[in-house]
């Protein structure tokens, strides 16, 4: 069953992110995800890395397919101009990638590549129009491409509630749905009350929403996330629980389980961000009964 089918047939889908390995440690990665075969509806190959260089995402997708996993290719607008985006997507289509996750990407504020130029020549809604062109069998300038692409596309959405002008928050979603977006992946969820309010607002759109959940290991990691990813993302009570816990892993699993319990009734799935804990995913899935 591919991701599109799972989203229609299942009540709650589970996907996970992986970082494409930079060195030849694909075996380790495969070893880790073999353990959760059959429990994931898709594996997202991340293109955005806080610290700089990202390995070959297309090659990783190919290996995942050969090993009977359904890869979801992330593609974003920070490091690629329009030509690069099109060539990336055409290569993905050639390699049999069916799922695309389209992001604008964050502005780079940390890592070792701060002097590099960033593009953002298209944003995620325009990235959709690029995908649309390729699916119609031509590039953005109208020139025919050899093979029509066929993608199931999802995009990101900010699940923070009440932070911005409500009308603005919905505008982006409406725009993306109009352009053919198949599902939304939210920003990481920690606060279930806020997330529920967000879901109430987007329910009328009738489109699947997958909530992102980070496996936070320590209070230090939570502070890092709050500093570099998004201010105030990890709430103080979770940081405290982690700081005080004698067994960090157990505490982390409990936090995860609580979040999943809450999410099961309000959205259509969960997307795991293991950040180095790829080998521990089975434990988390077991605890949350996923």
């Amino acid at each position: 069953m591919d991701l599109k089918e799972s989203l229609t047939k299942k009540q709650f889908v589970v996907t996970s992110e992986i970082q494409p390995p930079i060195e030849a440690d694909m075996q380790e990665l495969l070893g880790n995800i073999q353990k959760i075969r059959g429990r994931l509806d898709g594996v997202t190959v991340s293109e955005v890395e806080l610290e700089g260089v990202v390995a070959d995402t297309l090659g990783t997708c190919k290996i995942l397919r050969e090993n009977k996993f359904d890869p979801i290719l992330q593609t974003s607008c920070r490091e690629k101009n329009r030509l690069d985006i099109q060539s990336h997507l055409l290569k993905a289509s050639e390699k049999g990638v069916k799922n695309i996750l389209a992001f604008t990407a964050d502005y780079r504020i940390t890592g070792d590549s701060l002097q590099e130029m960033m593009f953002f020549h298209v944003d995620s809604s325009k990235l959709f129009t690029v995908v649309e062109s390729l699916q119609e069998g031509h590039d953005v300038s109208g020139k025919e491409v050899q093979q029509k692409a066929d993608f199931f596309v999802g995009s990101g959405i900010d699940a923070g509630w009440g932070k911005n002008v409500p009308d603005l928050e919905l505008k982006e979603m409406e725009e993306m749905i109009k352009l053919g977006n198949g599902y939304f992946l939210t920003t990481p969820v920690f606060n279930l009350d806020e997330f529920q309010k967000f879901m109430k607002r987007v329910e009328p759109f009738g489109i699947p929403v997958i909530a992102e959940v980070i496996l936070v290991r320590t209070a230090g990691m939570a502070h890092f996330i709050n500093k570099y990813v998004k201010k105030g993302l990890v709430p103080p009570d979770i940081i405290q629980t982690l700081a005080k816990a004698p067994e960090k892993e157990k505490a982390s699993i409990e936090i995860f389980t609580d979040i999943i319990k809450g999410l099961k009734d309000i959205c259509q799935g969960v997307h795991l961000i293991p950040v180095g804990w790829e080998d521990k995913i089975p434990k988390f899935l077991d605890a949350a009964k996923l």
């Binding site: 944003d123 953005v140 959405i157 911005n164 603005l168 505008k171 725009e175 998004k230």
Partner: protein
């Protein structure tokens, strides 16, 4: 008024650039760099003093009223003698001034003391904001007169992105999200429908670099606008 916003290079970089030279003539500018306090009279005096302390000989200094102006050539001629005694000119103007001065002397090296950052405006004393990046495809008519190309870190024309947070930017919590400003302005103007319009991808090459535009003489207006 638009200004060329500059920042002084580090003392290490300046001393590295001046290393081969002993006798130095310093040029400041009375316009943008005076206002930005990077190349006005006080900065020129300070620079001369610190170079003297480092063992350099200062053959003279001068302030040019508007270094990018054509009159710069005349001003330089007036200081010909002091300049002739120098091995190098240290220029404390923006890059426009540096190039104007470099064109005047075929036999004298120039060294810039400043980096030119952007064309901007001093919004509050000491705070300079980039206002226009001269993209060649003005969108201000659809954004309430507030520029997202210069004002958004990502330069998005279909904003805001997911990084907007209570009206502030993901890059810096002290910076306003320009797309929230645009939204509020359009709301005040009663034209939020414009906000919902999808903008096509921008042309990033309207004017191929280096820009050169020729306005034929016959197309320039000869009228002075006083006649009905």
């Amino acid at each position: 008024m638009i200004r060329s916003i500059t920042r002084q290079k580090t003392p290490e970089e300046i001393s590295g650039l001046l290393e081969p030279f002993t006798k130095i003539f310093i040029v400041g500018c009375g316009t943008c760099t005076t206002m930005a306090r990077t190349g006005g009279q006080p900065e020129v005096v300070r620079m001369a003093k610190s170079l003297q302390e480092a063992g350099k000989e200062i053959t003279g200094t001068m302030m040019i009223p508007v270094a990018c102006d054509e009159l710069t050539h005349e001003a330089l001629e007036e200081n010909k003698q002091a300049i002739a005694g120098a091995d190098v000119l240290l220029i404390m103007t923006c890059a426009f001034g540096v190039q104007t001065i470099a064109l005047h002397f075929m036999d004298k090296p120039v060294v810039p003391a400043l980096d030119t950052l952007f064309i901007g405006k001093e919004k509050q004393p000491g705070t300079f904001d980039e206002i226009c990046i001269q993209c060649g495809e003005c969108v201000l008519g659809e954004t309430g007169g507030i520029c997202p190309v210069a004002g958004c870190h990502k330069g998005l024309v279909n904003g805001p992105c997911g990084g907007t947070d209570k009206g502030k930017c993901e890059v810096d919590a002290k910076k306003d999200c320009v797309w929230t400003l645009i939204y509020n302005k359009l709301e005040a103007l009663g034209s939020l429908d414009v906000m919902r319009r999808y903008q096509d991808p921008k042309n990033y090459h309207v004017e191929p670099q280096p820009g050169k535009v020729l306005i034929p003489f016959e197309e320039r207006s000869e009228e002075d606008g006083t006649q009905p």
